[in-house]
Each structure stands twice: as C-alpha cells, then as structure tokens.
Symmetry: C2
Subunit: 468 residues, 2 copies
Amino acid sequence: MSNHPDSVVRAHVEAHRSDFLDDLGEWLRIPSVSADPDRAGDVRRSAEWLAAALTATGFPVAEVWESDGLPAVFAEWPSGEPGAPTVLIYGHHDVQPAAVEDGWDTDPFEPAVRDGRMYARGAADDKGQVFFHTLGVRAHLAATGRTAPAVNLKLLIEGEEESGSPNFSALLRAHADRLACDAVIVSDTGMWAEDTPTVCTGMRGLTDCQIDLYGPGRDIHSGSFGGAVPNPATEAARLAAALHDDDRRVTVPGFYDGVVELTDRERELFAELPFDEAAWLRTAHSTAALGESGFTTLERVWARPTAEVNGIHGGYGGPGGKTIVPASAQLKLSFRLVAGQDAEKVQQAVRDWVAARLPAGIRHEIRFHGATRPCLTPLDHPALQSVVRAMGRAFGQEIRFTREGGSGPAADLQDVLGVPVLFLGISVPSDGWHSANEKVELDLLLKGAETAAHLWDDLARNWHPGAE
Amino acid sequence: MSNHPDSVVRAHVEAHRSDFLDDLGEWLRIPSVSADPDRAGDVRRSAEWLAAALTATGFPVAEVWESDGLPAVFAEWPSGEPGAPTVLIYGHHDVQPAAVEDGWDTDPFEPAVRDGRMYARGAADDKGQVFFHTLGVRAHLAATGRTAPAVNLKLLIEGEEESGSPNFSALLRAHADRLACDAVIVSDTGMWAEDTPTVCTGMRGLTDCQIDLYGPGRDIHSGSFGGAVPNPATEAARLAAALHDDDRRVTVPGFYDGVVELTDRERELFAELPFDEAAWLRTAHSTAALGESGFTTLERVWARPTAEVNGIHGGYGGPGGKTIVPASAQLKLSFRLVAGQDAEKVQQAVRDWVAARLPAGIRHEIRFHGATRPCLTPLDHPALQSVVRAMGRAFGQEIRFTREGGSGPAADLQDVLGVPVLFLGISVPSDGWHSANEKVELDLLLKGAETAAHLWDDLARNWHPGAE
Ligand SMILES: [Zn+2]
Ligand SMILES: [Zn+2]
C-alpha cells in the first residue's frame, strides 16, 4: 500500500466502510421527523445519538443545543495550530416525513442496502452527508499522522431544517461567539450527476410578498357597474402581467441594480455541463422552457434573479359563471435574488412599483414575509479552490461548477457569521430527496469522506484568511 | 270631471286604487320564491292566483303553462279590430328569497303600506309591475268605451326569472305560435328616479367563459424551476391584463366589429340626466370610476361593450407564502355586448386571441357558457314613440331615455319571437330589488297603470307594424 496521502485516506475509508455504514444505519433508524410533533422525542434522540457519535469520533466538545424548537448539535475540535483557519460544517439531522404507504419498497426507517445504495429516509438528506464527516476527519488524521485536525473544526447540525428552520437564525445569533469561523462548509446539497462531480458555488436569495387589492366594498353586479369601476382582479392580473416584459425580464425599476453578472468563464463552464434539456423538462413536469431572453435554462435557474407568481386569487372560482366585479383580489409573488442584489432595496422597489401602477379606487396592502440573502463564492476564492482540489483527489476527475437555484439557511450562516459559505455535497438528483425510496450512493458517500479528509489538509496549507 | 281621456283614465285608476292595492297585497302574501324547492307549491299557487285575477280582469284566455320547471301564466285578449298590432307583456311572478332576519322592518310576505309605499317582497320586482297592467287595461276600456283593448293583448308571466330563467327559452319555442306578436313590452325594469320618468331603450347582451390553463404537471419548486418554465398563473394574469389597453378599450381583435355607436342625440340625452357620480359610486360600493376612455360612466354601463374579469384563480392562496410554480390557473371572463355585436363572432375572436397569446408549454381549454343577445330600440321607432307619449301623458313630464347595463330574458323574447322589445317599468332605484324592505311607490304604480291605459290606444292609432 502506497504511503501517498490519497492512498492512505482511501485505505482508511475502505477499512472503516462497514462500521461506518452500520453506524449510519443505526442513526437512520431514528425517525427524526421535525414536522411531526409526535416525533419530537425522536428528533431529540437523534441529536443525542449524533453528539455521542461525534464524541466517539474524537471531538472534545459535542453538545446538544436547545432552541425554541427542536434541538441542534454543536461540536468542536480545535486544531492546536496557531493561525489555522476555522471551518464550521453545517447540516441537519431532522428528516422529511416518510411512510411505506407513500410508495417505499422497504421501511423508510429500516435502512436497506441494495446495489451499492442505502435506502432510507435521510440517507442523502441529510444524515448521510453529515455522517461522512466523522469518517472524513478520522481519515484526515490517519493520513497526516495528526491527533487533531489541521483546521479548527466546528459542526452545527440543526434539527428543524425540514420544517423551514424557524429558530435557526435566533440560534445562530445566540451562539455567534462559539460559532465564530472563517468559512462555513454546507453539506446539504448535491452534485450534477454520478459521473459528473461538481461543486456548488452559490444559492439564490429569496423574498416573497402578499399583495391584497381592494375594489368595491362588496362583489357588485357586472351588468350594472362593470366597465365603469376598477376591478381588483383585473388590477391584480395587470400587476402580475406587468412584472415581466416580452423578453421575460423583470420590469420593476431597480430590480437588477447591483446584480453580479455571470462571467464569460462561468457561462463557459455551465455550458460544458452535460445538460439534457428534455430530461430537465421532465423533472420540471413541463413541456417547454421559458425565461429571460439571452440566458440558457441553467443560467436562468442558477444565476438570474426572477419574479414568480406563486398565487393569484380573486372573484368567483366555482362552477359556471358569475357576473360580478369582485371586491378583492390577492397576489402572492416571490423574487429569487442573486449576489449583489439588496433584498430590502428590492422590497422597496416592488412597493413603489405596485403603488405607482394601481388606479384610483383600488386600495392595496403589501406585506413581505422576510428575506433570505443570496450567497456566491467567486471561482477564484482560495477556500473554494481547496474544495475543488480535495474533491478532485477523491474523485480522480475534473470538478465542475454548479449553483443552487433555491434558497436556504446557508444564507443565514453567511449573514450572521459574516463569512463565506462553501458547499460540499455528494448527493445526486436520483437520490430522491423528500420522495419515496430516498437513497444514497455508497461509493459517493465514501468519496465525500475522502474529500473532507483532503480538504482540511489543503485548507490549512493554502488558505490564510487572516492574511487576505 | 272632464271627459278628456287622460282625466277618465286617472279617475278610473283613482277610483279603483283601494281594490287594486288589496288585490296586489293578496298576491304578495304568496311567497313564490322560485329558488326555494320548498316553495314550489307557492309558486304554483301564485300562478293560479294570477290566472284567476286576469280572468276577473276580463281576459278571455288565462292559462297556467307548465314548463320543465315552475309554471308560467299566459293570457290573451284579442282586440277584435282587423289589423290591430299584437303586443306581448312580459313579467314574472316569482320572487327573490326574503326573511325578517335579513333586516326587514316588517314581514316580507305581509304587505305593509307606509308613507305612500307598499313594502313586500315582489312589490316592485315584479308583481307590482305585472299587476298594474290589470288596472291599466280596465282604465283603457273605460276611457275608450271599448269592450276589448284596441290592440291584441297577450301576457306571458314566467315563474323562474329569479332563478335564471332556465326553462324560459324552451317555453318560448314550444309556444311560439300562440306568443306571436309585433312587439314585446317588458315590465320588469325601472326608471331613473321618482322625479325623472324614463324609458329604457335597450339591454346589453352577455357571453361568458372559463379558461383553464395548464402548465407543469404538478406544482413545482420555484427555486429549482422558476424563471425557466412557463407559469400558468402568470399566463392567466397576462391574458386578463391584455384584455384592455391603457385606455381600457378591449384589445381582442374584432371585438368592436359592428357595434352600434351612440348617436350624438343619445349622448346629449344621457348627458341631460341628473347624474350624480358620487351617489352612483356609493351604489357601486366603489371609490372611483374607471372605464373606456372617451365615454362617460353612463355611456360605459349602458352603451359600451366590456370585458370583465369575474374570477382569476391559480396557485397558492393560503396564509404566508409558498414558493411554487403552480400547475394550473383559471380565468372567468364575461363580455357585455351591445347592439350590432354578434355573440358567436365575439366568442370566436376571444378563442383565437387566447390561443395566439399563450406560450409553448401552456395548454388551455376555453368554454363559453352560452350567450344572451343585446337588444336596442332606436329612438325613432314608432312603438317606442308611443310608449314615450303614453308615459308623458301619465306623468305630465318630459320622458327621458335610459338603457340597462345588465342582460336578461328580454333578449330571448326578441330572438325567439323575432320582434322588437320595449320597456315599460316604473320602479325606482330606491325600491330595493333583491334587498330587505323592498317596496314600490304607490303613486308610480298607478302612473304605470295610466301609462298602459294610454299606450294601447296610442299604439293602435299610430303604429302599423304590418305596413312598415
Ligand atoms: Zn436537507
Ligand atoms: Zn324582476
């Protein structure tokens, strides 16, 4: 056996594969469904199980943290090296609901290994991806001969992610001192495909609102009054329609202010991904693509800000017809944001735009439900380069780049802790997050452990955040 | 007492006022609520009561006509004069539901006379306005010394008008022979105001449709797919918004084809009406007027075709937000039509317009719920001139012109019988149709009887439909 660190890491991982999968299986048996109040005890048991596993891994600190909701787990393993970077790993130990009746071939809380895959709720989202870090850090120690990791390692594994992380931001703020770090590594995302390892470089932000429009004091007869008074359903439609021009660009003045545009290099890299639009459309349950002119589908979902009508409701919706001018209408809009956009400025721009477009006789209320900021790591960021190199060593392949179109608690980490967020995920689209027969590819899971093992060493050698 | 016919008519009406009101009160005590299946027996009793009253008035033929729903009443009194015009009076003997709990000061089915008004459900809509014809024809005979009316008089008083006249068109077709006439006089409308007697010269038509739009096969995540696939809620909004240009003119190509424009004289006459826009807005429960540029509010509701969004529904409508691209959306549109428009052509124009505007990836279905044609009598029509003269004699005032913005069974009469429809109504906006404390002004009711008395004589003298 070679003494090259890559070989040592691989050998360590292979040697502990069986124990690692047994342990993961034990954790997956705990049905930590955060959405089900009857499972609150299981979520707590899952947190306690993980804290014990992290202690067993060697973390000198491993604690269950209470929140106003379900508990999170915090662990810490100082490097002992002066000036070493501090990295916080983020993941979650709660899972989506699951029941055999939903179409599972086997019990979702009785892990089953078939064809190199482990089937269980949480196998990929997110217990598997949290747990590979325990194997990763042990492999890192084995390969470097260290007794503590080369970077200061922290973990924060929350218990309410699948319930919308309602207490996460407060938890971060309450413990900001102990969570202080130079970067966050989020292990709750995926790669492009089994044969195309990728690193995600950012997520879009989000802000959404409800607009209530009020016209006549009650539904009135369209024969007597229609065509002579403003109709709030028409005005809701006119707002929703006016959001986009014929090029499907968002028309709200100032909406694109500050947008960090894709670089030519990023567009090239996206274009090199083996994207099958027909297959993508099938996952979208759609028969045609449509979006902002001048951008590809991937660019649209990953790197462009959008305005979406999530709901529009006004007037009669029952069988047949009813000749009324309705009294009110409601519009639910969401805006995906990209790096450089300021959520508060976008909200104000939308407020101003709505107010300026409504005719006399239509009263309105607009309420934003908060905002999640976008995050984006430039391709040349040294910590991102470390992730790419570590992954390349584990996979033995060129690592490509993706982004996430969605929005998540990663942005809270970035905001509260004030540090860049990086992504290390090995799940693939076929893993079936939130669906029946969720699974994780065991080979990829172990490559995740290898990547982590390489990453701590690479970061310690090549990244000096204090010196930047 | 003068022997001038106007004086004889007035004297006859005054002399029989008390008996007339007693009889009307008896009819109003029958709760002929067509919408309430438990009242079907009362609707039948109302029909039988009316047929008996018409027989007592002198009509040699008075029959209860069965339909697939609730019964109508038909009566006939031939003139005996060769070449006399034949007139069919239309009204209805069913009423809206009513209960003391809805805010009535007295029992809605126990008529109460206070301050020169009779309060009861159906007092104005429509029993009072049907019943003044019994007094009117007797006054006509008294004033002319005739034993039969100067015109061939027919009455058709339906029993399901307040339930949308579902069987009326079939009834007309089944009895078209016996209903044959030269004009229909509809007594189921109103006047401008107590001090401003008016004749209605037309009603708008109506056609309405439901448009279902289908996008993704299910609701999909707006983070993963939003901005890159077509959104049916957005497309529904874009359709609804595109219905009108910034001048609030309907944009559907061909929509205005054939529209009979208002003459300068009609616009002058409308403008002379004492219209109080602030008061009108209060009845519309609206705080501002809005409609097609270049037309007044009255012109918009009486004489202009419109497109109205009666309902728009798609996507999420619950509390908070939900970041989806919805699978479907629904639009309910209605179009008011004016004379000269062809409902079938309008429907086809809307179908073509919708199909041409939707992007790939949005499937749609459009379904029209039928059509009611517009009707309009030119100001110089000799029968309309007779109505105006007769009303002028009864009221001793200049008679002005209005139209109805709504749509009704009048159009069926026009279509099936192929004759012009005229309107003779004495109800006023304060009568509270379909509301609590419906009433009729007794002085106006008697002027309605006087008008009818003058009308039959005037028509026989001045209108020769066969010779036109
Ligand atoms: Zn997750
Ligand atoms: Zn009526």
